[in-house]
């Protein structure tokens, strides 16, 4: 599973190609906006894919970190007069710090207990955002100021398409390098057998914690980008359903696959937009698609297709 340099180039090349092709094929502002949303969600899904695929840990509250990133970006300028970009940086730090603090006790838990603990964490973040009405605007959400760099207003779907797309490319590059690093190898060992890994001298707890913090940072980055791009956030960004959506992205795309996270994010972002045409049938079709994907492409879209392509020569 370790990506060699060739695979790394292949993945990044494929991503870059898609990034270049989308604006040529779908030039309308609306399509670019949806694409930008895909890239943003993909960044969050990437972090979670590392956690789930590499460290074998599930998080049902990952949107909580997205919420921290998004709300920091919104609240910094409003209450502290900070620059939005600086606030976003603070939000990312905050999310990382929180993950570091709660990571140890939470990651000690196994299987479903880990699931419910992360779930609780996400719900607590969501609840704070909903309840602290004077600060956060409560359930109705809050406006985010426009981002200005050197006096230039960063607006328009086209510009944001590139900002988010390039961020995703960088995030993917970092993730690939992490997989290939010694920490990555230690984590893969841990995924296979925690006991064996600790026997050969891997600091299991530390390795898990590192990936948990990285995943939180990715989610907060995605949250911040979303806030700046959408210029409006509601507590739903940190909600339980968002967390589930993120996990579903990773699993549908293919756990442990970088490209898979992107494909999963694309599917789950575009599908609801496309399904609005079905009006009343929207939810039924979404639910059915999820079941069908999971039943028929159990290992996920990307690994599933890759297996079909490379069936002749075993990888």
């Amino acid at each position: 599973m370790a990506p060699g340099t060739r695979t790394k180039l292949l993945v990044l090349g494929a991503l870059g190609l898609v990034l270049l092709l989308v604006p040529l094929l779908l030039p309308s502002a609306f399509h670019l906006r949806v694409a930008a949303l895909v890239w943003i969600n993909a960044v969050a899904a990437l972090g979670l894919a590392l956690l789930m695929g590499l460290a074998g840990q599930v998080s049902l509250g990952h949107a909580g970190f997205m919420g921290i990133g998004a709300y920091a970006t919104a609240l910094g300028p409003k209450h502290l007069g900070l620059d939005p970009l600086l606030s976003m940086g603070a939000g990312i730090l905050l999310a990382g710090a929180l993950a570091f603090l709660v990571g140890r006790p939470i990651l000690r838990l196994k299987g479903h207990y880990l699931a419910v603990a992360t779930l609780g964490l996400g719900i607590l973040v969501h609840l704070v955002l909903v309840s602290e009405v004077p600060t956060t605007g409560g359930p109705d959400g809050i406006q985010v100021p426009r981002l200005e760099l050197f006096g230039i207003r960063l607006v328009g779907p086209e510009l944001w398409y590139w900002i988010t797309g390039i961020t995703l490319l960088l995030a993917a590059w970092l993730a690939l390098n992490l997989e290939d690093s010694s920490t990555g190898r230690a984590l893969r060992a841990l995924h296979d057998s925690e006991i064996a890994a600790s026997v050969v001298g891997v600091d299991v707890a530390r390795a898990k914690l590192v990936v948990f913090v990285i995943a939180a940072v990715y989610a907060a980055l995605a949250g911040g980008l979303f806030a700046l791009f959408n210029r409006f956030v509601t507590p739903d960004v940190a909600g339980f359903l968002r967390s589930i959506e993120l996990v579903t992205m990773v699993v549908i795309g293919g756990m442990g696959s970088i490209l898979g996270a992107v494909v999963g994010a694309a599917l789950l972002t575009v599908l609801p937009q496309a399904l609005t045409l079905f009006h009343d049938y929207e939810h039924a079709v979404l639910g059915l698609s999820i079941i069908l994907f999971m039943v028929f492409l159990r290992q996920g879209i990307v690994p599933g297709l890759a297996a079909l392509v490379t069936r002749r020569r075993p990888a």
Binding site: R108, L109, V116, I244, M255, H283, A284, R298
Partner: protein, 290 residues
């Protein structure tokens, strides 16, 4: 004192419903290691089918029976069409299958029924009963009594019937159960059917108090899951204790701390409990099978 009694009953009533959902989670989990996030939809079906059957002219008992049957059929279909085919997939994949199923059931309910909230008349009137100065709803007693009856019935079934013993055997060791001739597929289907029936009954009992709509299942599934984990998943007694505890926590948090943070208090306690006791309050210290 009055307030204490009032909050106690409010908490026990909500907690009883959580306990029933948690029990449904536990049954299916025991038989298959699947965490069924569609559990809340059975509660929704119980309430919604009863409402619409009564609108169509059926008396309450028949409407309720129909609702339970619809929920059981849904549970069996869920098992046959989604869980069976995904057999052998990872825990997370199975969770997502059940989440997909819950979205699907909700989506269908929204088409078959409607998107509005509905109420059921209380079974035996709305006149509150005075107890130590607090006002207790007769329907609350129905919920508590109904939940108690279900727990007792389930216990008798598990302990006293051959089928119940087969379920327990499957839960303990599926391979061994198969070797002694138990058809574990039937046992699994049974677990889904019973879970669905329990959820539906809970939905019927509580709808006169809380109202219902096609969308009530999600939150209940979440709370039920939390309750099951609080008690220690895989343990029916734990599920009931966890459910009641969660209901009480929420009620007292709303009354004494902050009504907006009541859900948070419950989850905070869950986190603390898990930090101290990583297997839940009454969980077995068993080996994990992930």
């Amino acid at each position: 004192m009055v307030e204490l009694v009032q909050l106690l009953f409010a908490g026990l009533t909500t907690g009883a419903v959580y306990a029933l959902v948690a029990l449904g989670f536990t049954l299916i989990f025991q038989a298959s290691e699947v965490v069924n996030f569609a559990q809340g939809e059975f509660v929704m079906l119980g309430g919604m089918v009863t409402v619409f059957a009564m609108k169509a002219g059926l008396p309450l008992p028949l409407a309720a029976l129909l609702a339970v049957l619809v929920a059981v059929a849904t549970g069996l279909l869920l098992h046959r069409l989604a869980i069976e085919p995904a057999k052998g997939a990872t825990v997370v994949t199975l969770i997502i299958v059940t989440i997909g199923a819950s979205i699907l059931i909700r989506g269908l309910a929204q088409i078959v029924f409607d998107k509005q909230f509905h109420a059921l008349p209380a079974f035996t009137g709305d006149e509150p009963i005075r107890l130590l100065g607090a006002a207790i709803l007769p329907q609350s007693l129905w919920v508590l009594g109904g939940a108690a009856a279900i727990v007792l019935g389930l216990w008798l079934f598990m302990e006293r019937t051959l089928l119940g013993k087969a379920v327990r055997a499957t839960a303990a060791n599926r391979l061994a159960a198969e070797l002694v001739g138990i058809d574990t597929r039937v046992v699994l289907a049974l677990a889904f059917a019973v879970s669905a029936a329990i959820g539906a009954v809970g939905g019927i009992l509580v709808t006169p108090i809380t109202l219902t709509s096609y969308a009530v299942g999600t939150l209940l599934a979440l709370k039920g899951f939390a309750a099951a984990m609080l008690g220690g998943i895989g343990n029916p007694v734990g599920a009931v204790v966890g459910g009641l505890l969660l209901g009480l926590l929420e009620s007292f948090a709303a009354g004494w701390i902050s009504s907006t943070y009541k859900d948070g208090v419950a989850f905070l306690v869950i986190l603390l409990v898990l930090f101290a006791l990583p297997q839940g309050l009454l969980g077995r210290r068993a080996v994990e099978r992930v």
